[in-house]
Symmetry: C2
Subunit: 127 residues, 2 copies
């Protein structure tokens, strides 16, 4: 069913936090407000990473390794069901060397500490 | 919350159908019982594919192109919420040329026509 307005607004806040704090400012501590404590990410090219601390280590390395300049997440569809949301979206990752990578993703959202956060996060590349 | 036993059994049936009918027998028509009519798949290396007919065309080409011998889906975790389930799993794809590909996936399940089906399906490779 459609996502209630208040939940959609909270989700935008979380996605903006990732774009600005993590993608642009490399503020890895902001991931505390983005991922649940027991979140899982499923990145291409490596096994699943479990738990927020390990996820922070992953992003710290990945953002430095790719020399990310900015990230832009765009929500394409979101489905509200019970106490969670399944969101489907796309991301553009721009690097300081001038490359742009087109990514698509699915995020399973849950509420934690009054925030809507990413509980399961999987993505891959369009090309 | 945990997946009710009856739903878990229905999910196993759907996954087995994919393993046996699609992975081993290349019976693409079986996808009618696996994907919802308006399902979306997000395969690595290509944009999102929308709608069951397009998904059938995708799998027909992909299974022939990779010369798939067998597929084994293994459910790792599943979370029941409202009228849907989010499942996290791994897949092993074996080809007739003797290669094995390790895949991880997230599937958003919904009920359609009394069956539990894949509504959103995204995966990527471990290596």
């Amino acid at each position: 069913m459609p996502v209630p307005d208040a939940v959609a607004a909270a989700m935008r806040q979380t996605n903006d936090l990732f774009n600005i704090e993590v993608g642009s400012k490399r503020n890895i501590a902001a991931l505390d407000k983005i991922y649940t404590i027991d979140a899982r990410i499923l990145p291409p090219g490596t096994p699943m990473v479990e738990g927020r601390d390990n996820i922070k280590a992953f992003w710290s390395q990945a953002i430095a390794g790719m020399d990310v300049k900015s990230v832009t997440l765009t929500s394409v569809d979101a489905d509200f069901s019970g106490d969670s949301v399944v969101e489907l979206g796309r991301a553009e990752i721009a690097t300081n060397s001038g490359h742009t990578v087109a990514v698509k993703y699915v995020v399973h959202w849950k509420q934690e500490d009054g925030l809507w956060k990413w509980h399961t996060d999987i993505w891959n590349l369009n090309q």
